[in-house]
């Protein structure tokens, strides 16, 4: 019994290390949809674009879901807030 347990432990250790290593390889980072050459302009008048980055309850979606880069996310949230002031977009949804 003792021997078996020891063997198991060893197996788990090596396996755990391997799976961790594999995970980092499998996950491929998506590029930011608002960066690059053909990226759309972020402006508070461009409502079609802004509505993509807002949840059903009109909250701004986090960049970890939408893959927007840090700088663009900052610009995006500023423009959404401008649109909210002018009642082009809601502060709270249904």
């Amino acid at each position: 019994m003792m021997k078996r347990k020891k063997d198991k432990k060893k197996f788990n250790k090596s396996g755990g290390a391997n799976s961790l290593f594999n995970k980092t390889n499998q996950r491929q980072s998506k590029s930011c949809p608002l960066s690059g050459k053909n990226a759309p302009e972020i402006n508070y008048k461009n409502l079609k674009l802004l509505k993509k980055y807002v949840s059903d309850t009109a909250k701004i979606l986090p960049s970890r879901i939408t893959n927007v880069s840090l700088g663009k996310q900052r610009a995006l949230s500023k423009e959404i807030k401008k649109a909210r002031v002018l009642a082009l977009m809601p502060y709270v949804g249904n």
Binding site: L47, K48, R84, L86, A87, L88, P90
Partner: protein, 107 residues
């Protein structure tokens, strides 16, 4: 001299003459403080995302201004105490866009 983008919402029940008088007052203020209107856009009557002063609709007007910070202060002072103007927003911009925005009324 700076460039500004100024948008204001007037209540939808106003007649054409009344909205024109609001515009005239803004141009008067601009002339006094040597500012200029470079571009103008009419977004028409749009439904609001939330009610403002118990109105569910509003008439949007957008103007691009060249002038100093005093002009914007004076215009906002006038709009704050005018009952016909429901809401406004002025933004300092670096360049005046050549193309008209998507919000311009097409019909």
């Amino acid at each position: 001299m700076n460039f500004y983008e100024h948008t204001y919402i007037t209540s939808p029940e106003l007649s054409f003459q009344e909205t024109d008088s609001v515009r005239k007052k803004i141009t008067d203020i601009l002339e006094k403080n040597d500012g200029k209107i470079l571009k103008e856009e009419d977004w028409g009557i749009r439904s609001l995302a939330y009610p403002i002063k118990k109105n569910s609709k509003g008439k949007y007007s957008n103007i691009y201004i060249e002038g100093n910070n005093k002009v914007i202060k004076e215009i906002e002072l006038f709009e704050r105490y005018d009952e016909r103007v429901m809401k406004f927003l002025s933004i300092k911009i670096k360049k005046i866009p050549e193309e008209s925005s998507e919000l311009v009324k097409t019909s």
